[in-house]
Symmetry: C2
Subunit: 334 residues, 2 copies
């Protein structure tokens, strides 16, 4: 098995030289669930040098139907025509069930995926949700070392995957649709916590006026939560991938966010915070995985949960039983 993979040093050298097949092999190592591959992948990641100029790490989030792949295709082509090299990755929670990912799907970005300056890779589809996000982040680092200076990370705007992507990018873009009524569709209130930029998509034809109105409403909604002194006021744009409108304005927004962050130190602070986040997120995820897989825990968990739900045990008594099954002495925990 190891024979198929060159030693880490060689892989790193080729990958940093821009060798596409070396990148492919390194990505395969990261995606593998085999212990040997995992260890090899970590050796490769550890040996990589950071790019002299940090890559653009941009998260793109929105519900299915909001037009993520059309935008990424259009934005990606816009960027490669301006000399950028663009990698498209994804964190897709549904890939765990289906074994495949509809996000960062080459068939949905046919023009971009055929360009040699671009690289489109679907979401990892094995492991746990935390594992998918960790692997995507590692794939991002590999792509950057292979010379891609823009990484777009796509995700659906649901639950944990939002947070996961927000915690691996410099700029988080939330896509939304103008609704039929007054409301802005495709957003959970909580997502505003993460957004650095918001764009209303499909702002063309009959929809253009509705999109403008939704943008105005959203701008005033955001402004009442943002103190005038805030360093960054989240811009709300409208765009149409179909009509190729608003694309360069969107990229201007991403660049302004980056420039300001690099000037006031928030860019570096965010990256540093993220490195720390991923250490502890990995520890806690894998601690929970070890717990969830423990045979004694598995044997009693359904019964314990039923007892707590019915009120036969208190939550603390249930937790005591489960932790004891895992071998933790609660007297030491308090």
């Amino acid at each position: 098995m190891t024979r198929r993979f060159p030693p880490p040093d060689e892989l790193v050298r080729k990958l940093e030289g821009g060798d596409r097949s070396a990148l492919g092999r390194a990505l395969t190592l990261v995606e593998s669930t085999r212990g040997l591959h995992r260890a090899l992948a970590q050796e490769v990641l550890q040996r990589l040098s950071e790019p002299a100029e940090p890559a653009f790490r941009v998260g793109i989030s929105g519900v299915p139907g909001v037009g993520k792949s059309s935008l990424i295709e259009t934005l990606g082509l816009h960027l490669v025509e301006r000399g950028h090299r663009v990698a498209v990755l994804a964190v897709d929670p549904s890939s765990l069930r289906t074994g495949g990912s509809i996000l960062a799907d080459k068939t949905r970005m046919p023009h971009l995926s055929r360009r040699s300056e671009a690289f489109v890779r679907p979401s990892p589809s094995s492991g746990t949700l935390g594992g998918v996000a960790r692997r995507t982040r590692e794939m991002m680092v590999l792509c950057e070392s292979a010379g891609f200076d823009v990484v777009l990370v796509e995700t659906v705007g649901v639950g944990q995957s939002e947070t996961d992507v927000a915690m691996m990018v410099d700029t988080y873009l939330v896509l939304m649709l103008a609704g039929a009524g007054d409301e802005v569709q495709g957003i959970k209130k909580g997502i505003l916590e993460w957004a650095d930029l918001v764009a209303i998509t499909k702002a063309d034809g009959d929809n253009a006026v509705r999109a403008q109105r939704a943008a105005t409403d959203l701008r005033s909604a955001l402004s009442i939560f943002t103190p005038a002194s805030a360093a960054w006021r989240v811009p709300v744009l409208t765009l149409s991938a179909h009509a190729q409108q608003g694309i360069s304005e969107l990229w201007d927004g991403v660049r302004r966010h980056r420039l300001q962050g690099r000037k006031n130190g928030r860019f570096e602070a965010r990256r540093s915070h993220q490195r720390e986040h991923w250490l502890w997120a990995t520890v806690h995820d894998q601690l929970r995985e070890a717990f969830d897989r423990h045979p004694e825990v598995r044997r009693i968990r359904a019964r314990v949960q039923a007892e707590v739900l019915s009120g036969t045990s208190t939550p603390q008594q249930g937790a005591d039983a489960l932790l004891q099954a895992f071998g933790i002495d609660l007297a030491a925990v308090s």
Copy 2:
């Protein structure tokens, strides 16, 4: 030590009979960090019967200065005058540092705390933040069994304590101030995720007009995120504890939220979800505590974290080292 406490059955009988000193003793058991008291507290909690009519569990959140204690004093007196028995509890993250809590402070609710129909207890001040929330939730259950049919749980609107309180109440009230500019002060965007009711406080005198305007702005901001079909549209009220205005309207809002939830099943579903939440939150908190206290983990954690921050190790390598120190074999985790 056990001699000071009657056997659990006797304590339960007295407590359910409304004996105030039995309630005080049970609360002391819940707050204790001693293993023996902890076990006794769980036995008491396990033996309690649920009230025939579930109590009102209301969370009240807002930044310092928003007027939480004035509102609770006024609302509490309003309720005892209408025949309710009102317990006031708190989850105060700062109590862990200072050993005391400014929330649910009797001196800040002088009239209410002197009423025999009311019971005011500050935040637990030992253990971890997760432990403070767990203990407050257990104190809430004790108060309900002792005949308090309204429990108000106070918290400052920061970080985890928000979520903790939202996960133990039926109705979550967020208090805010009208700002000097356009913005609504004292709110994080993410808190809207939790709010069932919002009230702009100090809506009196010169401030009344600003408060009304802030309420109008906030209503339209909320409406653009809420589909017309939503079962519950978050009401935005204005009130003044000082001028005793808006208090009965606020309680009407709490009652409407409860009545609607009991009709459409969301009340029971939420409580059931919360019981499950507390089981797993307790498990995961205590798992992390056991990890954080492990001597081998403590010995290496500063070094591992520094290596990950400097890029000498990847986050996964750092996590591997820490989990190994804890005694978890990662080959089994994937």
